[in-house]
């Protein structure tokens, strides 16, 4: 589904990713871990197509198509979703209106008519229930005055609405208390199927107790320096990142 080959990327001439190789197949859950500043969020942004990042070498392909030069919205139309670490506020635009626009723009790109209002409402109701979201919440301005937990839950709600093929969860666990974490993780697990894939980016092992990864990769200084199964995550939780750093620097 997603194939990353020797990816180098920089922002404002500062090189951040230095040769990433990663392949994610349908039905898989991958976790990327690593210390602060290792390039985790950059990787997420580059896959999603953020313009500030320049790909200097290598390629990213999605379902067999190289997407290096593809605009962010086109990638979204193809089924790439990024749950933001810091979701932005859009005052005056309700969650419902935002989702309606997103869904209909995606449908338009696929040559489909707007989703009938009735279906839209049904979908919203269904997904809101899945994530235990209060209906009132949906008429509030997007992320404006939301608590950290509400913002993250809203991200997963959007993911549920858009039903992406590849969902990248960038530090979705940060700012969540244990109950919210469980709700969010349950939501992700319920949406999981053999046809879609999840890339979890996290600093801590905590979230991986709920969203169990098939593969765990450690990112350090812009490279994947170690890959393994979920046991690797436990090891990191126990021993920290220092031993990895030592291994790399040795």
């Amino acid at each position: 589904m997603l194939k990353i080959k020797n990816l180098h990327a920089s922002v404002e001439d500062k090189s951040i990713l230095k040769g990433i190789n990663l392949e994610i197949k349908p039905g898989e859950v991958h976790a990327i871990m690593g210390p602060n500043g290792s390039g985790k969020s950059t990787l997420a942004s580059v896959i999603a197509g953020k313009e500030d990042y320049e790909v200097t070498d290598g390629e990213v392909s999605f379902e067999g198509e190289v997407i290096n030069d593809m605009a962010a919205e086109e990638r979204a139309h193809k089924g790439i979703f990024l749950s933001f670490q810091y979701p932005v506020e859009i005052p005056g635009v309700s969650v419902t209106n935002f989702m309606k626009t997103a869904i209909n723009e995606t449908r338009k790109a696929k040559g489909l008519e707007d989703m009938p209002a009735k279906d839209m409402l049904k979908l919203i109701r269904e997904k809101a229930e899945l994530l235990e979201i209060d209906r009132k919440f949906l008429s509030r301005s997007l992320n404006e005055g939301f608590s950290g937990g509400e913002k993250k839950r809203n991200e997963i709600f959007q993911m549920a609405m858009l039903e992406p093929k590849l969902a990248i969860l960038d530090e979705t666990d940060s700012g969540l208390d244990i109950d919210a974490l469980r709700i969010v993780a349950n939501g992700v697990n319920k949406l999981k199927s053999k046809n879609n894939a999840v890339l979890v980016i996290t600093h801590y092992q905590r979230l991986l107790d709920y969203i169990v990864p098939d593969f765990v990769h450690v990112l350090y200084k812009g490279r994947i320096v170690k890959s393994g199964t979920k046991e690797l995550a436990h090891e990191l939780e126990e021993k920290g990142y220092d031993w990895i750093k030592e291994e790399v620097n040795a």
């Binding site: 919205e73 979204a76 932005v88 635009v93 997103a102 723009e105 997007l142």
Partner: protein
Amino acid sequence: MNKYTEDDLREELKTKEYEYGFYTDIESDTFPNGLNEDIVRAISLKKEEPQWMTDWRLEAFKAWKEMTEPEWANVHYQKPDFQAISYYSAPNSKPKYNSLDEVDPELLATFAKLGISIDEQKKLSNVAMDVVVDSVSVATTFKKTLGEKGIIFMSISEAIKEHPELVKKYIGTVVPQKDNFYAALNSAVFSDGSFCYIPKGVRCPMELSTYFRINQAGTGQFERTLVIADEGSYVSYLEGCTAPSRDENQLHAAVVELIALNDAEIKYSTVQNWYPGNAEGKGGVYNFVTKRGLCETNAKISWTQVETGSAVTWKYPSCVLKGDNSIGEFYSIAVTNNHQQADTGTKMIHLGKNTKSTIISKGISAGKSQNSYRGLVKISPNADNARNFSQCDSLLMGNECGAHTFPYIEAKNKTARIEHEATTSKIGEDQIFYCNQRGIDTEKAIALIVNGFSKDVLNKLPMEFAVEAQKLLEISLEGSVG
């Protein structure tokens, strides 16, 4: 990666032509350029006005000659040469029509281009229209329905002939002839406009609507509108304008007077889309407008405006809260792009006790434009327990535009409560990327963000106008982000 830089945006903006930029060739009856007493008399004569009206105009003209153009606004432009303007132009066809079939087909085509086919409007939208092309009304509809309720809705020229007692009683009572330079000019040379009277206790059953339009090259447009809501009555009045694309600057100096008698309510909504000039700042309409309403006891006046057009805007729809417990409201969205300049806001003059006013102003600037909010809240010594709430928000796109806020407060009564809030924000790349990531392209993202920013005001517009206004916001700002 496919970079969409500010340069690309700028290019895109430049290539965006004014949507409604066309010119209709209707045979016109136009006065020679210049302004003097004879011209003023000739206008009055042409319109077959009574002597008192002619005298009123001449009085205004005398005052105007002694006045100078105001320079305090935060706008810069080449002052119009008032002797190079023709002060009268009327479509040279039959003066009145009984049906649309009699209307100049080219005129109808013009309306079709604007998407405001009268036919459709008549049938679908339940809106009575007094269509003003250039200066003389050529079509009036729904007069009969309104007539049954005793509502008078006609051109002001007709009103001067048919209801002289009402016009004479109220004209110039809210905006005196000598009020300011442009109001004086308008009082001297106004060509036509709308007149509306709602009798005691009558709730006007439909939105009243007027479309203004500048059409004749080099012809100033001097509209005069007078709306009187008698005791306990209610009216919602819509005014929308768009003008053809012209190279020379066109002057528009309108005067609107609203009178809300005891317990009456007037809602006055405007969508203004005059030609803003081209991407280099050449051409465009000068929009110097005086709008003011007077509230008697328990009366309420709401001004709602969506200003997207004109090269230079100078406009402060105001409320004089004379009666106790009266309410004034001002809701505004002002969009400037390219080289547009807008200096707009309101004046809330609290004279009566327990008077309340609300001001919500949303300024959106893009390109190299300058957008200023200028507002005065004045609480007079007798206005016990007066309250005002003002909120002025600015949204910037790009690094070359400007947003300015000039709030003036004069409180001469200790019981006054005045609140003022102001914010300035910029459409951020993070917001755009967030939308992009959800499948929403940049253009649509801006529309979404701008509409969200303007929502408080858009919500105040009558339904059919709100849709039009949203469309206008999108057209005016296509591709502008920083």
